[in-house]
Structure formats: C-alpha cells, structure tokens
C-alpha cells in the first residue's frame, strides 16, 4: 500500500513538473520531491540505493523538461542534495532559524541556476508562482512560530 502511495505521489509530481516547466521554474515540484526524499534517509544500503536512483530519475526529468544536459542536472541535483544534508546534519544546525535561512538560500540558488541554464524569461505565471510561495512561507512562519 505504501508503494502505491509513493507511485501516486511520483505521478502527481511528474504532472506538476510538466505544468511548471511549461512556464516557470520547478519550485513546488522540487520542494515536494525533496520532502518526499527525506523519507529515504540512508540508514541502510537499500534506502541509499533508492535515494541515488530517485536523484538520478529527478535529474533525468529536469533535463528532459527544461531541455538541459543530463550531466549538468546530475551535478546540480546531487550537489544541492549533498549541501542540504551537510547543512542539515552537523555544522550549521545550531539554531532552527539559521537552518531555515540556509535551506531557503540553497533552494533559491538551485532555482536561479535552473532559471538561467534553461533560458527562461520572466512572465506573469512566474509572478503568480512567486506570490504563492510567499503566501506559503508566511503561512509556515505563522504556523511554526505559533503566532
């Protein structure tokens, strides 16, 4: 049953990526996907291989939908995931707000890299997307800090 759940999530993410890639950067897709990948915290060999396979698949999908080179996508995705895990694990996780800002900065850097590499241009959909992200961030801030 859990695998069926994963399958549905992957299908949903693919559809979301196809929609987002039409006009904008994959903000929601990558956010949800990395949230999903957090479950494959590599405690054993099996979860590690699943993680590697998932990251490879994500790189292929990004390369396809954003017309990028596969090597570049692999480098981007793996580097992002490595830095994200590094910042999240030991060195910079002294306080939660610092961790949040680092994660956000990394994510923004990844999005900007995709934006420039795939030659996208600013449009109204991107602004709508940015507005939605802003609303989401405000909502999360309120929820986490119990304002």
């Amino acid at each position: 049953m859990i695998y069926l759940n994963y399958l549905f999530q992957v299908v949903f993410l693919l559809i979301l990526l196809s929609v987002e890639s039409t006009l904008a950067t994959p903000i929601f897709t990558l956010y949800l996907l990395f949230k999903l990948l957090d479950r494959f915290n590599p405690r054993d060999d099996r979860s590690f291989y699943y993680l590697i396979a998932s990251l490879l698949l994500l790189s292929f999908c990004l390369a396809l939908f954003y017309q990028l080179g596969i090597s570049i996508c692999i480098v981007l995705v793996f580097l992002y995931y490595y830095l994200r895990s590094l910042f999240g694990s030991k060195m910079f996780s002294k306080n939660f707000q610092q961790w949040q800002i680092l994660q956000l900065s990394l994510f923004a850097a990844l999005q900007i890299a995709i934006f420039f590499l795939s030659g996208l241009s600013l449009n109204i959909f991107m602004l709508v997307q940015g507005l939605l992200v802003l609303i989401l961030l405000i909502y999360r801030t309120i929820k986490i800090n119990r304002l």
């Binding site: 060999d45 590690f48 590697i52 396809l64 596969i70 793996f78 959909f125």
Partner: protein, 255 residues
C-alpha cells in the same frame, strides 16, 4: 577504523554517476525522442493554460477596449469641433467664390494635364476625346501660356504666346494702356501700343477679353521697351512671363 559499508556505498554511487557522465559524454543519452515528446506535452499544457486564463485575458482586453473607447470619444468630440470649423470655412469659401464669379472671374470647367515636350514642340496629353477645342486657353499657375493650335484624339499641340506671329491676344497694362500680345518666335511682344501711351517697366499685362479668352488673365510683365520707329505711330514692349511651359509639371486648359 574504516566504515567499509559507507565507503562501498559512496564508491558505488560514484561509479554509477561516472558511468552516466560517460554515456552523456559519448552522446548515448541524447533522448531526442523523449525531448520532442516533452515539448509536445508542454505545448498542450500551454494551450490548456491559455484556455484557463482566457477569462483574465478577456478582462484585460475589455479594459483595453474601454481605454480605446475613451480615446475614440475624445477624438470624436475633437473632430466635431473641427467639422464645425470646416463648415464655417466652407460657407466662407463659397461666399468668396460667389463674390469672385459675380465680379470678373467665371468659375468654369477646366482640365488639368501634364505638358509634354516633344522635339521642343509644346504638347498636352489631352485631346478631342476630352472635349478640348482648337483655341482653348492654356494656363500655367494662372498665367496665360498659349492656346490650343492642333487637336488630336489624345494629344493637343499648344501655340505658345512667343510663337503667335499671325494672331494675337488683346491685352492691357495695369495703367490701362491697350495693345496686342504677339510673338516673334523668340520673345513675347506687347505691340500696337499707341506711341503717346506711357509704358512702365515691371508693369503687369493682362487680357482684356476676346472670343475664347476671358478677361483679366495675367500674361506677363514688361521687361524692356523696343526702340521706337519714328515712322510708325505705335510702340512695342517685350514681356516676360513668371512661368515657363517647359518647366511646369501641370497646366490647366479651359475649353
């Protein structure tokens, strides 16, 4: 000392990535079919988005139309004012025209045509097909240039004033001195002027009016006086015209 399982995993991951890089480097991961499929899919997505955002586009279009309508209304009001002014001008123009027609100039039908110079012969591109007649007056910018001498179906030969050696045009100066305008093949002459009459240089010479030629048509200005022959009781002056038939782009013919 060494975490062998971890090292093995990372080694495996590195090998897999290097393998993929190698495939990509060798061009074996082009995925052109997949890419074209994705592009088609994105095109469909774009169409669907356009359908979904059509109401927004229509609202924006309506806003633009509203601005356009406001602009048109403004222009309409402006045009109405201009139209009123034009109406007033037209009435004034008609009144002036009536005034002129009632005094000395009869508004009559005339033809506008291009002068043609063929072997230095002055010709017009109008003929009997256009109801022209021999003797019709040819004007250039209001100056009398000559009359129609020969008529073809679509061409008419002009007898210029300087070539009028046998016939002439009855004319007068501003001061009322009468005479006949003729030509000697070279100059336009104001002849048959009484020797007692006083001719002034730069004086305007206009028609008096005769059959086929209306009155008060400007001919030219007196530029010099010929030596008076004591045996004759008349004097002659040379006229100069302000326009030249061969240099005009359009002339007017009054049939």
């Amino acid at each position: 000392m060494f975490n062998y399982p971890k090292i093995t995993r990372y080694f495996f991951a590195t090998v897999v990535l290097l393998f993929v890089f190698l495939l990509d480097f060798l061009g074996l991961l082009g995925l052109s079919t997949w890419r074209s499929g994705v592009i088609d899919w994105q095109a469909k997505n774009y169409q669907a988005m356009q359908v979904l955002t059509q109401p927004l586009a229509q609202v924006r279009q309506m806003w633009q139309l509203r601005e356009k309508l406001e602009d048109l209304e403004y222009r309409y009001r402006e045009a109405s004012v201009q139209l009123t002014e034009l109406e007033a001008l037209r009435e004034e123009n008609q009144a002036l025209r009536n005034l002129l027609e009632n005094t000395n100039q009869v508004h009559q039908k005339s033809f506008i045509t291009r002068p043609i110079s063929s072997f230095a012969k002055p010709v017009l591109s109008l003929g009997s097909d256009s109801d022209l007649q021999v003797g019709s007056v040819v004007l250039g910018e209001g100056n009398l240039l000559g009359i129609i001498e020969e008529l073809g179906k679509q061409q008419a030969r002009v007898l210029l004033l300087k070539d009028m050696q046998t016939q002439g045009v009855v004319a007068k100066t501003e001061s009322g001195v009468k005479g006949i305008v003729k030509g000697d093949g070279k100059d336009i002459l104001f002849t048959e002027v009484l020797s007692e009459a006083e001719l002034n240089l730069r004086e305007r010479v206009v028609t008096i009016g005769q059959e086929g030629i209306g009155p008060d048509i400007f001919i030219g200005r007196i530029v010099s006086l010929k030596e008076q022959d004591q045996a004759k009781s008349t004097q002659t002056a040379i006229l100069q015209q302000d326009v030249n038939f061969y240099e005009l782009s359009l002339v007017e013919v009054q049939p």
